[in-house]
Subunit: 360 residues, 2 copies
């Protein structure tokens, strides 16, 4: 291979053209596969390019075409397998259509998200997929829309914006699983989430996350339908880091009228909650029932295996990428919009609470 080590200047179309003895324009046409080029010239050019080991400068290409073949993806936390899987769905799909992905992590911080979107726009990505940290602070997303750049939301929606969104209907599944818990005799159900809020939860409070808001709505509806009072004191937001999650878990489990079931808002928080339960020496499901969002593989390995709410995360990633690419290509939205439904997978972590106990 003719890889001349210390070559500083990169080979350009001009170099190839010279070597192939054709005009720059002709060389560019042959190299870029556009316009009209005779077989003869194409051959000479390609040979020369090969010989010089020419590589196109995609930056320059993007500048005149206005297309970068790159999409930007903004998520809260790639470390979370939930987003890992979604990202995989996106990259797999993007690759198939010849798109690359620039990934930015925001740590669920809106300021970082605003920044990320700006950077991506400046880099002239062809479109954006965002899992918005907030469903309320969405001016930056609105302005993406306004600028005409394709945008698709993932996992959560953003206020009233009219934008394609690939997300699960959380109210439905939350309603279903709460009903399941109620039927199992649980009345004191705790919901623990890391969602950051200004103050502790109050009924009717405006939440930054549509996801969490919908879940609480679903829970409340199930309580209403059952004729029970919704235990507002067991909704615990701002659970924060691992230590703080364990503390909150202990709180709801050790209080005078303790929770008999705990719902974990996601797979990451679930780890700390289960740990805390084990540390307290409580048995699942004999002493406490447990239910979590996200069906990670490890949930089948615990004793007992955990009852979970599975979400089609990978498919949502795929759908988001597909929708975005359609937008980029100027195609109309797919109708009807794809629906994603979560499923309650009953394994062993939810136990029956007998009437006697319920009364306590």
């Amino acid at each position: 291979m003719s890889s001349n080590g210390s070559r500083r200047r990169e080979i350009t179309v001009a170099d190839v053209a010279r070597a192939a003895q054709v005009s720059k324009a002709q060389a560019a046409r042959a190299l870029g596969n556009y316009g009209a080029v005779s077989e003869e010239v194409r051959g000479r050019v390609l040979a020369a390019a090969e010989e010089l080991s020419y590589r196109p400068n995609e930056l320059a290409r993007s500048m005149n075409t206005g297309k970068s073949n790159t999409i930007g993806v903004v998520v809260g936390d790639i470390e979370n397998p939930h987003f890992g899987l979604a990202t995989r769905g996106i990259t797999d799909t993007a690759k198939k259509s010849g798109y690359n992905v620039i990934l930015i992590n925001t740590d669920e911080d809106t300021a970082a998200e605003v920044d990320a979107v700006r950077v991506l726009l400046d880099k002239r990505v062809d479109g954006l997929i965002v899992a918005p940290a907030s469903s309320v602070a969405t001016r930056h997303l609105q302005s993406v829309q306004d600028s005409g750049r394709p945008l698709v939301l993932l996992d959560r929606n953003a206020g009233p914006m009219d934008v394609e969104t690939m997300a699960v209907d959380m109210a439905d599944i939350s309603h279903e699983s709460t009903k399941y818990l109620l039927q199992a005799g649980h009345r004191r159900i705790a919901f623990i989430s890391t969602l950051r809020t200004e103050s502790s939860y109050r009924a009717g409070m405006l939440l930054d996350s549509s996801q969490i808001a919908d879940r609480l709505e679903g829970m409340q509806q199930a309580y209403r339908e059952g004729g029970f009072d919704f235990p507002v004191d067991l909704v615990r937001l701002n659970a924060g880091d691992a230590e703080s999650i364990r503390r909150v878990t202990r709180e709801v489990l050790l209080m005078p009228d303790p929770a008999t079931a705990v719902v974990a808002s996601d797979g990451l928080i679930a780890l700390s909650i289960v740990e805390a339960i084990q540390e307290l020496g409580l048995a699942i499901p004999a002493d406490v029932s447990f239910l979590m969002y996200d069906d990670f593989a490890w949930t089948r390995l615990t004793t007992p295996p955990l009852t979970v709410i599975a979400q089609p995360v990978y498919n949502m990633g795929v759908a988001a990428a597909k929708a975005l690419i359609r937008q980029i290509q100027g195609l109309p939205r797919r109708t009807p919009a794809p629906k994603f439904t979560a499923t309650l997978i009953r394994r062993g972590s939810v136990g029956i609470r007998r009437a006697a106990e319920v009364r306590k």
Copy 2:
């Protein structure tokens, strides 16, 4: 906000210059923060930019400066939390220095990796971090080196190449943990990995992965030192997908002279192995001992908690990004090169095999 919806043409420096009544060059200087600009002009320009909601075209900027402020990251599988964490280390560090990350997934396929590297180079990234799928097929990496583009390897090394590599010394930790198993009375230790090879394992076989090769070397050394024969028949590569992993697990556990301990090559494969063990109705560690690479949080939740080999993955990601950025900035390599050591965390999944049983 002056977000004029259907504006098609993007605002350029020329527009801002005109509005501020200065030359294009002056406007560019003010906007780009370089050269000399009077406070007066800077003010006018910035105001005009704000008014027109001007955004620089980073593509154009990159073209003349030759810097894209973007680094390319190529990994085998982001879905694997091992890489998820490493990627987090990279992106966190990159962001701090003003770099963005283009992430490409290869599915541990060398052809895809070659392609990924080419694409990234064409996009003129400032540098590359690669977790090479193969330690043998490394021509494409060598050519990155040759072209003078900064390159850092992550997680595994590539043959004899002289390139900065952030990886754990696998021979050491494998030796240590094998000794631990041997001392616990185990002689039949199975090693299961998804590494793809042409044929089944034979002693002294050239492996595509330096990681796996080193681990086997460490195991063999421990056996030699103990004066025991290394059970080549229990080295199982090509474990493939979940179903295939379970089959292999059953094989080594049900054969005439079965394995008494199983070592899982990574946290993903571990899931299927543990599942298979549970399905067989075998108890850990009473019937089989279990040890795995990667210390994922869930390994503390199983009964018993699993004994693992923890690797400083996040820090390796951080170090890789730091090293790459140093290279990009033309700084010399940090010496001595950072070392990363894995640690054996003894939890409950390795049991003592009494002499009577050893003899069987």
